[in-house]
Symmetry: none
Subunit: 402 residues, 2 copies
């Protein structure tokens, strides 16, 4: 964040709520049709939109399709491209593994090799996830003194390894040769700082190959994307906020922790999330409520399912408003049109509601939907601005200059 | 400004007028109501808006509430956070003192001290401004060879001191101990560059204390915020413009001088400003017309008063159009909703009128108002873009590249 903004931060009792429908933005299934959000029966969000300042945002940059982690970084005011996160960390966050400062994570693929040690299949015949999980269990036998090693399945032949110990570094080269018919590469140190870790990784691979030697087809492994947790200033540091995350999925709890939010565990859905919102209302001043399933249904190409998920979130909006947040932002971290079965670069609708705004600039958006938001106050803005606007309207930014 | 833009500057006979209603943006007093600008009867601005490209701007950044000086910096194309202005300079500009390059200004508070020299009141019982002015007069007796010293009242116990001479520097520490019961601090040099100035300030304080010794309650003074005029490239340098400021209030004349504008003195209101516009039309190609009272009424919480001030400005619009400016921009430096009695972070409506625009993009905004502007061409943009757009439409920026 810009240094000058940090100097303007003023703590206050005002409360901000970010209600995030993952992958909210959508597309119509046919020309002239309605998007998922436009199709959904959302009486509460529609009424709120008419009482809010609306617009569309591009989380990372114009034209860019966000992954979930960077999409959320942007929502919380962090330009994701300023905080690149290595592949290993992304994998660890993706399974909700709670990395600590100093940990080094790497992606690991199970692979196949012949008797000469040459790689014959870089994906071990795409073994299913449960087989991958079993192999990860086996590898827990690996023991290296002074280092804790966590080996976790991700999906199919993909796993993630996290090394924890003193003096580790991500300065280690990939072992994946990126082709078959050759041996896996050595985990070379990329700088002096990486020497110790490279040695540990070499030992890890050596012990693992011994354990896997009779497995078929997964008798080898390839590692890449060694990465440490980046140093990211926390939301309390940057914004003076006391932020609380109310998320069900591990990935989003991981992101929240990374940004210095408190995380409530064992929430199973919107009812739990609402209960926690009420319980902790007095103790925090920023609340992140995350709903995953809009994205999941979009990824599945399930238009009606996504519509239904949006309607579930609509139903809880009155209960959030009962808490009288000073600023309520409703939006998504990116678009996931069911039509595309994938994240997309389409701008994401948002609404910013405050009691003051409802006196004021409202009236443009007749409903909460892509087209209605496009015609309202904010036009298309970069996503990192949302929290800035919210802080301004919540009176958490002092006047700049006399 | 971006270096590449400087290279595109092309001088021409085309004339740009910025008509600035200070604190223009507003809020309705009640839900569903109209803002000050929307409530005002502004037939001329409404007709002009329908013939213009409209939008909203955030002068400093999304969510940021601008002070008046940085708000104007942004209007004139200077990102305010790139040109931070020290407290002493702000104070000097605030009373319209014409600082020169190399001057050092500091805030000075009259204070009270006991016989031991310990500060007993950091504000000298909040003496009224006229008493402050009398004391400043007295201090004109201070004489230090090689330095000119200007001592000017600001408000209540607050004054400003400007040192003018060779080799001065703002590297001098505050003397205000920020608490009572202790002596004022020495004006220490903060670096080698500040040594000479620190000595001068020490001598200034010593002579002043002798002059004030029998005064009650103001027998002491505290200094802080030593600041030099920042180096700011002038509008003629940056934009190749010949700019003229037609402002009534000293603060805005000060800002205009700082940016290299010519300033016409002794204007008492809109009629004078219009007369001066006509008189100097042939001699300049950028005209800044400033109306303060929209902001003043907003700060007072006087909704109707602000409406009336907007209507006064509306009445002079036809006379500005008679001059046939090539580009006319009408906007504010920030919002000052009467509802809030303060500057706010709400985006500020603007219109950009040119004969060419009226052939083209017009027709979006049916009136000049927050909501109408929100629905027009430009959406919400950062304030420093306005002068760039105006230069472009005035043909004062060459084509970039072949």
């Amino acid at each position: 964040m810009d240094k000058y903004l940090e100097d303007l931060i003023e703590q206050s009792e005002k409360r901000i709520v970010f209600l995030i429908l993952d992958g909210l933005g959508g597309l119509p299934l046919e020309r002239g049709g309605k998007t998922e959000l436009e199709s959904a029966a959302t009486p509460n969000l529609d009424a709120l939109a008419a009482d809010s300042e609306c617009g569309l945002h591009q989380p990372i940059g114009f034209g860019v399709t966000p992954g979930s982690a960077p999409g959320h970084f942007a929502l919380f005011g962090y330009q994701p491209t300023d905080y690149p996160i290595g592949r290993g960390v992304v994998a660890a966050m993706g399974i909700g593994f709670p990395m600590k400062a100093g940990d080094v994570a790497a992606r690991m693929n199970f692979a196949s090799r012949d008797e000469q040690g040459n790689i014959t299949d870089r994906r071990a015949g795409r073994i299913p996830t449960d087989e991958c999980a079993g192999l990860c269990e086996l590898l827990n036998q690996v023991a290296i003194s002074g280092v804790e090693i966590f080996i976790k399945p991700v999906q199919d032949y993909r796993a993630v390894v996290i090394f924890r110990g003193e003096g580790l570094s991500d300065q280690v080269a990939d072992t994946d040769p990126q082709k078959v018919g050759v041996k896996a590469l050595d985990p070379k140190a990329l700088s002096a700082a990486g020497k110790k870790t490279a040695g540990i990784v070499k030992e890890f691979i050596s012990q693992s190959l011994e354990i896997l030697k009779n497995e078929k087809p997964a008798n080898a492994l390839l590692m890449r994307g060694f990465a440490e947790l980046p140093h990211i200033p926390s939301m309390p540091e940057l914004f003076g906020l006391k932020p609380l995350a109310l998320a069900v999925y591990p990935d989003y709890k991981g992101i929240s922790r990374l940004l210095g939010m408190q995380v409530i565990e064992n929430l199973s859905g919107l009812d739990d999330q609402l209960d926690a919102l009420k319980s902790y209302w007095q103790n925090f001043d920023f609340f992140f409520i995350h709903h995953k399933y809009t994205d999941s249904k979009g990824e599945d190409g399930n238009f009606k399912g996504k519509v239904a998920e949006i309607e579930k979130v609509d139903a809880i909006v009155p209960k959030i408003l009962e808490m009288k947040p000073d600023v309520l932002v409703v939006t998504g971290d990116h678009s996931t049109p069911a039509l595309l079965k994938a994240h997309s670069s389409h701008p994401v609708p948002f609404l910013i509601h405050t009691p003051l705004v409802s006196l004021t600039r409202s009236g443009g958006a007749k409903e909460f939907g892509e087209r209605a938001c496009a015609g309202d106050v904010w036009g298309v803005i970069e996503g990192t601005n949302l929290i800035r606007i919210a802080l301004g309207y919540a009176g958490k930014l002092k006047k700049y200059g006399a």
